[in-house]
C-alpha cells in the first residue's frame, strides 16, 4: 500500500508547524530536554517512529522524496532545539537546576581491574633492574640441560651428591648416553654462566633469572620448582672485594640502604673462595627476632670468585678465559626466598597455586 504524495506533504507540513509551536513555548531546560527526547529520542522518538512507519510502507520510487522531507523535518527540529537551548541556558545552569543532578560522591568508584604481576616475576624484574644499572645484561638458557653444563663444567666432581637422582630430576632413558650428554632439569641457573662464556670473550657481566628444578619434597619453604637469579662478572682485575661491594650494593638497593651484609666462608664447586652472604634482619633491624632465629642476620645468597677450573672449561671454546689473566665472581640467590621475605609470604606453594585471592594482592 502506498500513500499519495499530497498526504505525505500534508503530514509533514502539520508536523513542522507542531514543532515550531511547541519549541516556542519551551521555558526551562527541563522542558527543552523533554522536547528533545520526544522528537529525537533514539528508541521512542517521534522521528524514529515516523521514519519506520513511512519508509516501511513507501514505494521505492517515493522513498527518495520522503527521505528529503524527513531530513528537512529533522533539520527543523534540531534548529528549534538549538534556539530553545540558547534561550533557556541560564536556567539550565542555575544552582537550583544543577542540584537535581547531585550525586553521592561517597559511592564506590567504578574501577577497571588491572591484572597483577606475579610476585616472582616482580622480584626477578627488580633484581634484574638492580644489576642492569651496574652494567649487567640479561642471560637465559634452557631448563633441560646436559650434565656437562649443569655439573661437569661447573666443576662438580663425578661422585658429587648433587649429581645423584636423589637431588636431580633426569630425563628418562639417559643411562645409555655418555655421562656428560645426559639430559636433566637444571638444578641451578649456573649453566648459563658457561653457555655465555662459550659465546663471548671477557669482559662479561650477565644477570641470569630463571626457573630451576630439584628432586625435593615440597614443604612450607621448599618446592621442587623454584627460581634463581644468578650473576657473573668476568674481567681483568675483578676481586673478592668487588664481589663484596657489588652484593652489598645490590642488597641495599633491594632492601633499603640501612641493610648491612656479612660474608661467611662457604663451599661451592664452581667458586673459590666461596661465601654465604647474610643481610641484617629486615624484620627486627638486627635486634633478633623469630624470623632470624634471634641472630639478627638472615642468610640470603651464595657467591664466590669463579674457580679457575670453571675458566678452564670455558677456555676450551674461548681461550681468553685464562685464569692467570682474568678473574671474576659469580653469585646466586633464590627468588622465592627473597619474595617471601619482602611480602611476608609464609607458604612457598602459594606462588604456584594460581589462587586469585593471593595473586590479586599484587595488582
Amino acid at each position: 500500500m502506498t500513500q499519495p504524495a499530497s498526504t505525505t506533504d500534508a503530514t509533514f507540513a502539520a508536523l513542522e508547524s507542531e514543532v515550531r509551536r511547541a519549541a516556542a513555548q519551551l521555558a526551562s531546560a527541563e522542558a527543552v530536554e523533554n522536547f528533545r527526547l520526544d522528537w529525537l529520542g533514539r528508541k521512542q522518538g517521534r522521528l524514529k517512529r515516523l521514519s519506520e512507519s513511512l519508509l516501511a510502507s513507501a514505494a521505492i520510487e517515493e522513498k527518495k522524496q520522503i527521505g528529503q522531507r524527513f531530513n528537512a523535518l529533522k533539520t527543523l527540529v534540531e534548529a528549534e532545539l538549538e534556539t530553545a537551548l540558547e534561550r533557556t541556558r541560564g536556567s539550565l545552569w542555575s544552582d537550583q537546576s544543577l542540584r537535581r543532578e547531585r550525586i553521592d560522591v561517597t559511592l564506590p568508584g567504578t574501577r577497571r581491574q588491572i591484572g597483577a604481576e606475579h610476585p616472582i616475576t616482580r622480584t626477578m624484574n627488580e633484581l634484574v633492574a638492580i644489576f642492569a644499572a651496574l652494567g649487567y645484561s640479561v642471560g637465559v638458557g634452557p631448563q633441560v640441560e646436559t650434565d656437562y653444563y649443569n655439573f661437569e663444567s661447573m666443576n662438580f666432581p663425578p661422585g658429587h651428591p648433587a649429581r645423584d637422582t636423589q637431588d636431580t630430576l633426569v630425563v628418562a632413558g639417559q643411562q645409555r648416553r655418555a655421562p656428560r650428554d645426559r639430559l636433566l632439569l637444571r638444578t641451578h641457573t649456573s649453566p648459563v654462566q658457561m653457555r655465555t662464556m662459550e659465546q663471548q670473550p671477557p669482559p662479561v657481566r650477565i644477570v641470569i633469572p630463571g626457573k630451576v628444578h630439584r628432586n625435593d619434597a615440597a614443604d612450607a619453604t621448599h618446592s621442587p620448582v623454584f627460581h634463581q637469579v644468578e650473576g657473573l662478572c668476568v674481567d681483568k682485575g675483578i676481586t673478592f672485594s668487588d664481589l663484596k661491594g657489588t652484593l652489598d650494593h645490590a642488597m641495599k638497593a633491594l632492601f633499603g640502604s640501612s641493610v648491612r651484609t656479612r660474608f661467611f666462608p662457604s663451599f661451592f664447586p664452581f667458586t673459590e673462595p666461596s661465601a654465604d652472604v647474610q643481610i641484617s634482619c629486615i624484620f627486627c633491624v638486627g635486634k633478633g627476632c623469630r624470623r632470624c632465629k634471634q641472630s639478627g642476620w638472615i642468610e640470603l645468597l651464595g657467591c664466590g670468585m669463579v674457580d679457575p677450573a670453571v675458566f678452564a672449561f670455558a677456555a676450551e671454546k674461548q681461550p681468553a678465559y685464562d685464569p692467570r689473566l682474568i678473574s671474576g665472581f659469580a653469585f646466586g640467590m633464590g627468588v622465592e626466598r627473597i619474595a617471601m621475605m619482602k611480602y611476608g609470604i609464609r607458604e612457598i606453594g602459594q606462588f604456584y597455586s594460581g589462587d586469585m585471592r593471593f595473586l590479586e594482592q599484587f595488582a
Binding site: H118, P308, P323, D355
Partner: protein
C-alpha cells in the same frame, strides 16, 4: 656433629676467649657453629657444627682446635701422650698390602694381656677424660675397646679398628675379595663378597670390609685378651664402592670416602692403645707401619704449590685496613694451618713461596686454594666493599621487550599472571593432542601424576582454574607465560615414537596460556557480564595487535578432521593463524573436560605459541593524517543468510577499497524480529566515511552506499532498512 669446648680447651690450654666468641670466630671462618648449648658450670658448651663437605678434616675436636689455634695464633697440645715401652716381639706382626691401589697405609699394633671393661670403670688420665667427654656428649659407653675407637674418632676423625688377635690366622693381608668368599659383619649380616670389595683378611679368610665395617668373628668380646689395633688409610673410591655395594654407611666409610689424613694413623693407634692399656696389659713390638709411596705422593707428600703475593692481591682486592694482606699475614695464616713455606727469591716477581700442604687438607691442591685459606682465616668481612669499573653497554635480550609488552597487555585486560607446574600426567598430555611432538618423560618423577615435562600450558592452567573454582572463587582471570617441552630427537620417518627410542634433544618453547571463568570484572555498580568466547578473543586480538602482521585469521575446522585440540569445544573454538602460521587455539573448554573437572561455570582457555609470535616485529604506530572534515556515519541493517559469517561481510567491505571508508563496526545482532526471515539474522553495521581533503557530498555518499549494497547483494545479503542519524 657436636663439639665440646671443654675438649677444645684441653687441646688449647692457652685459649682465653669465651665460648660465645669462639663460636662466632669459628663461624666467620667457615667452621660454622650453628648452635651453642651451655652444659652447666665447669662443663663448657656444646657446639652444634655445620661444616661443609670439603672440610672433613675439621669434623672432629682436633680439627676444630687446629682452626682455633690458627685464628688466635696458639699452640696445639700434642694429640696423645707417648705409650709405655713395648715388650719385645720375636718378629714384627705380619702385614701385607696386596691392593696397593686402594690401601695407602696400614698400621698394626699388638696389645697383650688386655682386660675388656666399661671405660667408666677404668682408671687413668685418658680414660677418665674420655669418660667425661662421653657423658657430656651423651654418648653411650660400651667397653674400653669400643670406646677407645670412638674416642679416637671423636678426637681426630680417624677410624680405627680393634681385632681379637687370637682369632687372626697368620697375619693381615689387605686385598680384594675373591669370588665366593663371605663375611659376617659386626651388624650380624652374612655377606657374599664381590671381587671388587676391598677387605682386610688374614691368611685364611676375610676379617673386615676395609674402611667400612669389622667382622663378627674377630670382634672384641669380654673374653678377649690380645688385641690388634688397626689404623689405616683406604682409598675414597674403593671404600665408596664397597659401602654402596653392601648398602652400608658408617662413620668410617663416611670419612674414608671423603679422604682421610694419611699421617693420622700412628697417632690414632696410639690414642686407642693408650686407652686400652690403662686397664692393664702391654704393647708388643713396634708399630707395624706399611705405606704405599705412590699413594703417599698424592696425599701426605703432595708436591709443593707455588704462591705469589701478587696473585693474592689480584684476586682478593682491598681490605679495610690500609696495609692489606701483608707478607707476614700470609706466612702466619698458612703456617698456622700446617703448611710449610719456602720463600722464593726469583727477582722481579715480588714475594713468592713454595708451599707444602698438610696431609689432612686434601682439599688444598692449587694456588687458589691457598688464596682462599688466606681470605678465610684473615676474615671475609675485613675486605673492603668496592665496585669494579665498567665500560660497555647493557645489551637487551631479544624478545624481552615483546614479552614485557605481552604481560602489560594481559594485565591491562585484567588478567593476573600465574606460574603453574612444570610437570603433567599422561592423561594431561593426551588432552593436548594432537601435538606434533611427543612429551618428555622423566626417569625419576616427583610423582606418577607428574611423570612428563608439560608439552602444553593447558594442564597446569586447568589445574589452577580448578583450584579457584573449587574454592568458590567465581571470577578467575589467569595467564601463564612459561616454557613447554617436546622431544625433538631426530627420528627416522618410519620409526614413530617407540618407547625405547633415546631422547637426545628436548625442544623448549615459550608459550602463553590464558584461562578465564566467571564474569567481566564486576565492580562498583556496573552489572556483571558473563565472560564468553569473544572476551577471550578480544584479549587475543589485542595481544596479536602488539605485533606487525600481514594477516590475522581466526578459523575453525570440521570436527571430524581431528585438528582441534581435545581440550576445546569443537564449535566454540578457533584457531589463530598469523601470516599463514598457526599461532594457537582459543575457545570454551570442552564440556566433557569441564564435567570431568566438575566445573560448573563456563571456562575459556587459550594457548598461543609465543616463540612464533616473537618472530614478528613489534607493531610501530603508523599515523594517519587527521582530517579537518566532518565524518559521516551511515547505519545499515542487513539481512544475512545463516550460511554466511561476519568475516564474509567484513571482507566484502574491506575489498571495496574505498579510501573514504574510515571505519565500520558491528553494532547489533538480531536473530528474530519483524522482517527477519528464518535462517537469517539482522546485523546493524555502522560505517563512517571521511575524506582527508573535503567535505563529502551527498552524491558521493550515495555512491559509496550503493557500492556497499551491491557488494553485499552479491553475497546474498539484503538491506533490511536504512536510516540516518
Amino acid at each position: 656433629m657436636n663439639i665440646l669446648t671443654t675438649w677444645l680447651r684441653a687441646l688449647l690450654p692457652e685459649l682465653t676467649v669465651t665460648d660465645a666468641q669462639l663460636g662466632e670466630d669459628l663461624t666467620l671462618r667457615g667452621i660454622a657453629v650453628e648452635g651453642i648449648h651451655d652444659l652447666g658450670s665447669g662443663n663448657g658448651s656444646l657446639f652444634e657444627m655445620d661444616i661443609t663437605t670439603n672440610r672433613v678434616d675439621a669434623m672432629n675436636h682436633y680439627g676444630v682446635a687446629r682452626e682455633a689455634a690458627t685464628i688466635y695464633g696458639l699452640t696445639l697440645a700434642p694429640g696423645a701422650a707417648p705409650l709405655p715401652a713395648a715388650h719385645p716381639a720375636a718378629a714384627p706382626f705380619p702385614v701385607r698390602i696386596e691392593a696397593e691401589d686402594a690401601c695407602g697405609r696400614f698400621t698394626a699394633r699388638v696389645l697383650r694381656q688386655i682386660k675388656i671393661a666399661p671405660t667408666s670403670s677404668v682408671n687413668g688420665p685418658i680414660s677418665s677424660f674420655a669418660s667425661r667427654m662421653f657423658t657430656l656428649l651423651e654418648q653411650k659407653q660400651i667397653s674400653n675397646a669400643v670406646d677407645a675407637s670412638n674416642f679416637a674418632w671423636l678426637a681426630m676423625g680417624q677410624p680405627t679398628h680393634a681385632f681379637d688377635l687370637d682369632k687372626i690366622h697368620g697375619g693381615i693381608v689387605v686385598r680384594r675379595a675373591r669370588k665366593g668368599e663371605t663375611l659376617k659383619t659386626l651388624d650380624g649380616v652374612e655377606r657374599a663378597l664381590d671381587p671388587e670389595d676391598l677387605i682386610v683378611a688374614d691368611h685364611a679368610k676375610p676379617l673386615a670390609l676395609a674402611g667400612v665395617m669389622g667382622g663378627w668373628e674377630t670382634m672384641i668380646t669380654p673374653a678377649t685378651t690380645n688385641v690388634l689395633v688397626e689404623a689405616a688409610w683406604f682409598d675414597p673410591v674403593a671404600v665408596r664402592r664397597t659401602a654402596r655395594r653392601h648398602g652400608l654407611h658408617t662413620d668410617a666409610s663416611h670419612r674414608f670416602e671423603r679422604g682421610a689424613d694419611f699421617a693420622a694413623a700412628p697417632l690414632a693407634s696410639a690414642i686407642v692403645s693408650a686407652l686400652l692399656l690403662e686397664n692393664g696389659g702391654h704393647c708388643e713390638g713396634d708399630l707395624v707401619d706399611l705405606q704405599i709411596p705412590a699413594i703417599a705422593a698424592r696425599t701426605a707428600n703432595r708436591p709443593p704449590v707455588a704462591l705469589a703475593l701478587a696473585q693474592v692481591h689480584r684476586l682478593l682486592g682491598q681490605t679495610h685496613d690500609s696495609e692489606g694482606i701483608a707478607t707476614a699475614t700470609v706466612e702466619s695464616i698458612l703456617s698456622g694451618l700446617g703448611c710449610g713455606l719456602v720463600p722464593q727469591t726469583e727477582s722481579g716477581t715480588g714475594e713468592a713461596w713454595l708451599v707444602t700442604l698438610p696431609s689432612w687438607r686434601l682439599d688444598l691442591e692449587r694456588e687458589i686454594d691457598l688464596i682462599e685459606e688466606i681470605a678465610r682465616v684473615h676474615g671475609y668481612n675485613r675486605f673492603a666493599n668496592t665496585l669494579p669499573a665498567f665500560s660497555g653497554a647493557v645489551a637487551a635480550r631479544p624478545g624481552a621487550a615483546a614479552e614485557s609488552l605481552l604481560r602489560f597487555t594481559l594485565r591491562a585486560a585484567g588478567v593476573h599472571e600465574a606460574i603453574g607446574s612444570t610437570f603433567c600426567s599422561a592423561d594431561d598430555a593426551a588432552l593436548t593432542e594432537p601435538q606434533p611432538r611427543a612429551a618428555v618423560p622423566l626417569e625419576n618423577p616427583l610423582s606418577a601424576e607428574a611423570g612428563l615435562l608439560r608439552p602444553s600450558l593447558i594442564p597446569s592452567m586447568l589445574a589452577m582454574l580448578g583450584g579457584n573454582l573449587h574454592r568458590d572463587i567465581a571470577d578467575v582471570r589467569l595467564f601463564e607465560l612459561g616454557t613447554v617441552f617436546a622431544d625433538a630427537s631426530p627420528r627416522s620417518a618410519s620409526a614413530g615414537r617407540a618407547a625405547e627410542q633415546l631422547i637426545e634433544r628436548v625442544e623448549e618453547s615459550l608459550s602463553l596460556a590464558i584461562g578465564l571463568a566467571g564474569s567481566v570484572a564486576e565492580d562498583g555498580l556496573v552489572a556483571a557480564l558473563e565472560l564468553d568466547f569473544f572476551h577471550l578473543k578480544g584479549i587475543v586480538e589485542q595481544l596479536v595487535a602488539c605485533f606487525a602482521a600481514q594477516s590475522v585469521l581466526f578459523d575453525t575446522f570440521p570436527s571430524d578432521c581431528a585438528l582441534t585440540p581435545a581440550w576445546l569445544h569443537p564449535f566454540r573454538s578457533a584457531r589463530l593463524s598469523v601470516n599463514g602460521l598457526t599461532l594457537g587455539w582459543l575457545g570454551e573448554l570442552h564440556p566433557r573436560e569441564a564435567a570431568a573437572r566438575k566445573f560448573r561455570s563456563r571456562v575459556l582457555v587459550a594457548e598461543l605459541a609465543v616463540d612464533r609470535l616473537l618472530t614478528l616485529p613489534l607493531r610501530r604506530p603508523a599515523l594517519r593524517e587527521l582530517s579537518h572534515f566532518q565524518p559521516v556515519r551511515r547505519d545499515f541493517s542487513l539481512l544475512v543468510p545463516g550460511r554466511l559469517c561476519w568475516a564474509d561481510l567484513d571482507r566484502a567491505i574491506a575489498a571495496l577499497g574505498i579510501p573514504e571508508i574510515l571505519d565500520w563496526r558491528l553494532r547489533e545482532i538480531l536473530a528474530t524480529g519483524p522482517g527477519i526471515p528464518a535462517d537469517h539474522q539482522a546485523l546493524l553495521v555502522s560505517i563512517t566515511f571521511q575524506a582527508a581533503d573535503r567535505t563529502l557530498r551527498d552524491d558521493e555518499l550515495q555512491a559509496f552506499t550503493a557500492a556497499i549494497l551491491a557488494a553485499t547483494e552479491r553475497l546474498g545479503i539484503r538491506l533490511r532498512a536504512s536510516g540516518t542519524q
